[in-house]
Symmetry: C2
Subunit: 200 residues, 2 copies
């Protein structure tokens, strides 16, 4: 048995905040398991099933939803997203930290969840872009998106940013290295939390 | 105005845990103000008044106590120790982090304090020596202490160690650098806490 239960690190923030890069790096450095979400949206160029997302049909998603297999789910930009309980609970019990890159609706569901294993494990963080100007620059920098998509993303991002006070921690993005240093510090610190230590 | 209020980092742990070294280093690196305690015990060789402690007579200590000037105070090994409110509150309001190196009695008083400025700021950490064996080695390594003093310190340390579950965070000491990396991570992480950000 591990000497502690894992951290369930819930990370939200608008497109362009850099949250996904932070979460992937934490996982790449083997500090945490990256929880792979299910989605009904079409894969973007380069995205792989089972790595970036579990790509599901609407029918398959709804069947899992009806069976109670999701820890959280949300509809964003007309598509369904959700996290399967199996992506999270076993890891936490084994003392492995799990990082979830999810939107504000999903985070609110994790926050409202009464399952003691989730209550004990969860921590949430909102990653904020440094400024509207920089956010626009970051969103416009994605070569795959049209001007209309960028404008919609900007609008959605600004709306999503109103939710930061609902989170326990907020990271105001600066440079990539500085952001990761702080993000990692949060994980290191949460590993010291007495309420997750066995025998406390 | 600072964008946040300061962290009041309350650090306890037995003699030999390394807590004082951690607190002083944080202060030396200008990451936090080291709260200087008052004490009625005699200075040890090399200790300076106003740097290591404010050394007070019993009469002077009791006068400040009667005047309500202490945020916390405790009697340890027959001597009085206490933290003046002036060592803490102004720094926190200005957004400066404060580190308090105090015993389990003092920490319990800070934890019980209802002053909103303290409630908002406080975080507590218990530093544990890695093992009884290593603790004894560390306590015996102090050339200034007699065998009787070491035996008494060991007994007191083992008693004090029972209190770690009362704290929010626990640091199990390993190497000096590893300990400081984690200690600093806790400070970096707590600076992200939304409840201390102005405008949340």
């Amino acid at each position: 048995m591990s000497d502690r239960t894992g951290i369930l690190l819930v990370v939200s923030g608008p497109s362009g905040s850099g949250k996904t890069t932070l979460c992937h790096r934490l996982s790449d450095e083997r500090e945490a398991h990256y929880s792979i979400s299910c989605t009904t949206r079409a894969p973007r160029p380069g995205e792989k099933n089972g790595e970036d997302y579990h790509f599901l049909t609407i029918e398959a998603f709804e069947a899992k939803l009806a069976a109670g297999e999701f820890l959280e789910h949300a509809q964003v930009h007309g598509n369904f997203y959700g996290t399967l309980r199996t992506e999270v609970l076993g890891y936490l019990a084994a003392g492995t930290d799990v990082v979830m890159d999810i939107d504000v609706q999903g985070a609110a569901q994790v926050r409202a969840c009464a399952d003691p294993a989730i209550v004990r494990s969860r921590v949430d963080l909102f990653v904020m872009p440094p400024s509207e100007h920089e956010l626009h620059a970051r969103l416009a920098g994605r070569a795959t998106d049209s001007d209309e998509v960028i404008a919609l993303r900007m609008k959605n991002a600004l709306e999503e940013m109103h939710h930061w006070p609902e989170y326990t921690y907020r990271l105001l993005s600066s440079t990539r290295e500085e952001d990761y240093m702080r993000f990692k510090a949060l994980v290191v610190a949460e590993r010291l939390r007495v309420s997750r230590l066995n025998g406390a």
